[in-house]
């Protein structure tokens, strides 16, 4: 187990290195010039060149990347070109909001997804089952941007139940969590349904029923724990999905997380911020996957990590 963990962590470092090379190269190859963005339209050619030199952007790719990497190894993510502050400060200020949103989204996924999956499995073939499976299909396919705006329009503007975007109280958290979690909820409800149907067909469930146990007891004490296990393992992978989702959702809801930071930085080619957020997201994805793998043996004793 320990050897496995060490190997995986080493792999993680390699993956992050790869991500940093590829992202840095893509940004380097971009036809747009970050110095023009910093210097603005009234700058003289001297100002432009001077800024380029000071930021080291006149150096060849290898030198630029080496400088970035050596900073990175010392925990220095660099300074934002346009915000003129440390990238680590900017990310640290915004990371808690993004994590909170992810917790909310996981909650929404589990609550909505599992409930729908269980009901659909128990009432298999009924109108409720079919409606919920169509709903889950819509949830999986609908663009998050649209879902977000629709939620805002109905629940905040028309009904006035929740604030229109922003950050602060639990009420602010509901709609963005739903918008981010609805995709996962769609998947989970389908997975939960099939997993539950499988379990309900098992001999031990039939035995339990033959013993004369109450329906609720069979469902929640015997069937559910077994049916839900494969889904728990999925949550780690979801963290990766969320990383792409938060860019859109945070912009729609004015949620002050790193997704919004990334979106603003991309529009203005603020390379240090784009690099920083990409690396943090890559870390989250890798760690999420690692967690998913680590959890599996506990769920299914037949699997051994080597």
């Amino acid at each position: 187990m320990a050897a496995y963990l060490v190997r995986r962590l080493l792999q993680t470092a390699l993956i992050l290195l790869g991500v940093s090379v590829i992202t840095f190269a893509l940004l380097y190859l971009l036809p747009a010039d970050p110095v023009r963005q910093i210097a603005g339209r009234s700058a003289t050619p001297e100002t432009v060149e001077n800024i380029r030199r000071q930021l080291g952007l006149d150096q060849p790719f290898i030198v630029q990347y080496w400088r970035y990497l050596s900073g990175l190894l010392q925990g220095d993510l660099g300074r934002s070109y346009l915000q003129r502050s440390e990238v680590s400060t900017l990310i640290a200020a915004r990371l808690p909001a993004s994590l909170l949103l992810m917790v909310g989204a996981i909650g929404c996924e589990l609550l909505l997804g599992l409930t729908m999956g269980i009901v659909a499995a128990v009432r298999r073939g009924s109108v409720a089952d079919q409606t919920m499976m169509i709903a889950s299909f819509v949830g999986v396919s609908a663009p998050q941007f649209v879902v977000g705006l629709l939620l805002l329009y109905f629940f905040s503007v028309r009904l006035g139940w929740f604030p229109i975007g922003g950050y602060g109280t639990w009420k602010h958290m509901v709609l963005p969590s739903v918008a981010l979690g609805i995709l996962g909820a769609g998947w989970y409800s389908r997975m939960m349904r099939s997993s539950m149907i499988d379990v309900l067909r098992q001999d031990y469930v039939r035995t339990a029923r033959a013993k004369g146990l109450a329906r609720g007891t069979i469902l929640f004490r015997h069937a559910l724990p077994n049916a839900v296990l494969p889904i728990i393992a999925m949550i780690g992978i979801d963290i990766g999905l969320f990383m792409s989702g938060i860019v859109v959702i945070e912009s729609v809801f004015g949620w002050p997380g790193i997704g919004q930071l990334a979106w603003q930085a991309i529009q203005r080619i603020d390379i240090p911020i784009i690099m920083g957020v990409t690396l943090v997201s890559a870390c989250a994805i890798v760690i999420g996957n690692l967690l998913a793998d680590l959890v599996t043996p506990f769920i299914d004793p037949r699997i051994r990590l080597r």
């Binding site: 009234s42 100002t47 003129r84 909001a97 975007g165 002050p256 603003q264 080619i269």
Partner: protein, 548 residues
């Protein structure tokens, strides 16, 4: 309008004669209906990058910086008329190359220290020092010693001298008629040296100025809170106790919140998709203020790329574009243009008729130029609404005269990059990147976007038009520093732009109007909400009507 420079200077000369005191209230332009107190909420989509006046050059931080800092010069609220700011008065030498500013006494920075001439000198040295990386450094190019400081051989401008604690003298290396405007730019704001030294690279997050408001709280990515500066040197101002800027708010969400009374001014304006809906609703329309702005939207034609190297072809394109229809596409949020300068700019030529929309004549001219069968070209455009739609209208107009233009819809930075290459973009629609003047002077529409200086790799002169005769005329016009000759100078500029239109490197398409929305409780003259300098709102002068 054309008389602006003369009136300002004579008005301030008058103020000097009257020793200032009796005309004080009038000079502050206080509103008798205004009430002191209350707080408002303004929203923006993008985060505020910095409040350092040497660096900030964004849509959202420009007016914020104006309220935290002051420069020697300033504008009368809601107008493009200059007035003295931290300078109580100024004198211009005979030949127009030496400016002596007498400072106001008793002006205090937010840290409590009194502002002196040393601070003025320090601030100008700082903004021009290459280490500061100020995007505005180039504006100060006419100050003596600018080249040396840019080259890094010195850290101080030889042209700026402290005569006594309340007097500063600025010598120029060449006559510069725009210099007083330059001194009213945010980049010329006066900052206290000790606060800059203490905050270091983070001065932009911990700004200290002399302005009407001081920074209270700043939660990165969420909100900024400005608090009233009780010691502000313009007595009786500002009216508001507090302004909260909430960032990260999509314009469409901001509009919904405005309708619910949670927001007072949506800083990014009315989203294009909602414009008609707002204007169709009498209740909402009543809260919209419309005004002009110093903006022109244009199509550039790259004179280095065939067939736009032929003047006749460029003129023909000017006749082929149906500008009225383009204006309709953006719901009449603009007025059709026929010259580079916007109508509210001195030097705008009212008599000039431009190229009338005439596709038949355009076709004939193309035939004359040997292009009877038309030609194929590319039109670059920024990829956010409504620009691709406008590009399609232009494309249709062009195809009507036989020009087949394919649309290259790209991110803003990529269009700017393509325009800065000599052989990349034959045509560019400027929407979303168009020139908005930094200060209300006709010269500001020339140098970087139509002069030879901008026709360089990475420059903003996307038509690559470079006419050395016009460059000479421009230098000549900017040497006319005598305020009494302001009219003459404006005429010289009209002539320059007239000649440009003859060569037709641009199709001027429209001048955008500004539409600001405000909550019902906001008070103050409409002009404050379409202030040409403090965009979107002049924070120092607006007030709320629901305070006791």
């Amino acid at each position: 309008m054309k008389n602006w420079l003369r009136t300002t200077v004579s008005a301030s000369a008058l103020a000097v004669l009257m020793a200032g005191a009796p005309a004080l209230a009038q000079e502050e332009m206080l509103d008798p209906a205004a009430k002191q107190g209350g707080s408002i909420v303004i929203t923006y989509k993008d985060d505020v990058a910095t409040l350092d006046p040497a660096i900030g050059y964004d849509w959202q931080n420009w007016s914020m910086i104006k309220s935290i800092f002051d420069g020697l010069m300033d504008y009368k609220p809601g107008t493009t008329e200059l007035r003295p700011g931290l300078a109580e008065s100024y004198e211009i030498s005979e030949e127009g190359q030496t400016f002596t500013f007498k400072l106001r006494s008793g002006v205090k920075f937010h840290n409590g220290r009194e502002m002196t001439a040393d601070d003025v000198k320090y601030s100008l040295d700082r903004v021009t020092n290459p280490k500061t990386q100020s995007p505005g450094a180039g504006f100060f190019g006419s100050i003596k010693g600018f080249d040396e400081i840019t080259a890094g051989s010195t850290e101080t401008l030889s042209g700026v001298t402290v005569v006594d604690p309340m007097t500063v003298k600025i010598e120029l290396s060449r006559p510069d008629a725009t210099f007083l405007h330059v001194m009213a730019l945010n980049f010329a704001s006066v900052v206290p040296q000790e606060a800059v030294a203490e905050a270091g690279a983070d001065f932009g997050k911990k700004p200290v100025g002399t302005g009407a408001f001081k920074l209270g709280e700043w939660t990165i990515g969420q909100r900024l809170v400005f608090a009233r500066n009780e010691d502000y040197w313009r007595k009786g101002l500002p009216y508001l106790d507090q302004i909260t800027f909430e960032v990260g708010q999509e314009p469409i969400v901001a509009l919904l919140r405005l309708q619910k009374g949670e927001v007072d001014v949506p800083g990014d304006g009315i989203p294009p998709a909602k414009f008609q809906e707002v204007m169709a609703d009498p209740e909402q329309k009543a809260r919209v203020v419309e005004g002009g702005q110093l903006h022109t939207g244009y199509i550039t034609m790259n004179v280095e790329m065939a067939p736009f190297d032929k003047k006749e072809v460029r003129q023909a394109v000017n006749m082929a574009i149906n500008k009225d229809r383009v204006v309709q596409i953006i719901n009449n949020r603009a007025i059709p243009a026929n010259q580079p300068l916007p109508p509210s700019m001195p030097g705008y030529d009212n008599a000039y008729e431009g190229y009338a929309y005439d596709p038949e004549k355009a076709k004939a001219m193309l035939a004359e130029a040997g292009l009877a069968d038309g030609f194929e070209t590319e039109l670059f455009v920024m990829n956010t609404d409504p620009n691709p739609r406008i590009a399609q209208a232009i494309q249709q107009d062009l195809s009507a005269v036989g020009i087949k233009a394919s649309i290259q819809s790209l991110a803003q930075a990529n269009v700017i990059a393509a325009g800065g290459e000599k052989d990349q973009a034959p045509m560019i629609w400027s929407g979303g990147m168009a020139w908005i003047a930094d200060f209300p002077d006709p010269s500001n529409f020339y140098g970087p976007i139509l002069g030879c200086a901008g026709a360089v790799e990475g420059g903003w002169n996307w038509s690559w038009y470079c006419n050395e005769d016009l460059d000479k005329m421009a230098t000549e016009a900017d040497s006319v520093t005598d305020p009494a000759k302001a009219d003459e100078r404006s005429k010289m500029w009209s002539e320059i732009y007239g000649k440009i239109m003859e060569d037709a490197p641009w199709v001027p398409v429209f001048n955008e109007q500004r539409f600001t929305m405000k909550s019902p409780r906001m008070g103050g003259a409409d002009a404050l909400y379409v202030d040409p300098v403090s965009i979107p709102v002049n924070y120092d002068y607006v007030f709320v009507t629901d305070v006791q």
